[in-house]
Symmetry: C2
Subunit: 196 residues, 2 copies
């Protein structure tokens, strides 16, 4: 079976791509992040709710504040990556729905009037978008280093607000020396996929 | 700024890709799903936990049982798609961690002994993998129609068990006539991304 996506692109996005733990000094520009966003913003979400919000941590002062909240091994990586981004879910995404979902502008009130429903939706759909963003980082020739090991309440208080839940912190840059661990095993097809 | 991924591949995966609501009759083969899985299984998850589990609904009998649980507009789409898959999160993924995360086999007990922690991890990381899978479906020249509008408890009871939480049901196939809605608006860069 042949993919439409060519093998080099398959390698770039998945087979030869690895989470990076070290990076070169080469900066990640605003133009690169803009281009990545302008590509991956088209990834599908439920009701086109697109709840992912991103904080780019560019100043030395903000970087220092973020590092304090990172877990053990993640402190050094987060200190030295060319760019660090906080990915968060906007639990009040429904405010944008009349604009984002014009085929049914009433979805905002019909489906999303309750906060727990919004939190569940925002969490899952922002995670979908986080994955699209990681694919986009790789498409741009950069490596991502996503991390969930940090004080989530601390990062939320320091950089977000009560309506935004942090999902992950992502280091971004060109991979450095010994950037990645050897590929870990994956589950076999039959362990993951069943047919009924 | 130039991507490494070429423009045609960008179009295939994001810019020209759309959620499909109708499909041709062309079957989706086991070989295609195997190839998609063998590509997207490499997408990163926390601790390589890879909690996504997939049920391919291939028999007419199972299809009928699934359609009963789908919401209004989703019944017809789910009845007619060449292949329908249930994407679920395995809340007991930690059992596989000694194999999947060999650099720290003790992660299973050190971090994931509590079920609520596992559920939170399984939900987010299975959503990341769902997004990789959707990208993989598109890479194979197929279209995805992900849906969250269904009776989640009903689908769980009918096709899964108490340890597996359904995330979405995904129609898969070649897009048919008028398969997609016009592209809905996306948020502007400045509405999504802030810099500190």
């Amino acid at each position: 079976m042949s993919f439409v996506l060519d093998p080099a692109a398959q390698d770039l996005l998945f087979r030869e791509a690895h989470t990076a733990n070290t990076f070169t000094d080469e900066p990640v520009t605003e133009e690169q992040i803009q281009a990545i966003y302008d590509l991956v913003k088209f990834g599908p979400t439920a009701f086109n709710q697109t709840p992912l919000r991103v904080v780019l941590v560019r100043s030395a002062e903000a970087r220092e504040r973020l590092v304090q909240h990172m877990g053990g091994n993640n402190k050094a990586k987060t200190s030295t990556a060319p760019l660090v981004a906080i990915f968060a879910a906007d639990n009040e995404f429904h405010e944008e729905l009349p604009h984002l979902f014009p085929v049914f502008p009433a979805a905002k009130d019909a489906f999303f009037s309750e906060r727990p429903v919004r939190e569940q939706n925002a969490g899952m759909n922002a995670a979908l978008q986080a994955a699209y963003f990681i694919v986009g980082i790789r498409a741009a020739g950069l490596a991502a280093g996503p991390m969930t090991g940090f004080d989530h309440a601390g990062v939320q208080k320091e950089f977000l607000d009560g309506d935004h839940t942090p999902l992950m912190v992502v280091n971004i840059g060109k991979p450095g020396e010994d950037a990645s661990r050897p590929r870990a095993p994956r589950l076999a097809f039959d362990e993951v996929i069943t047919t009924v």
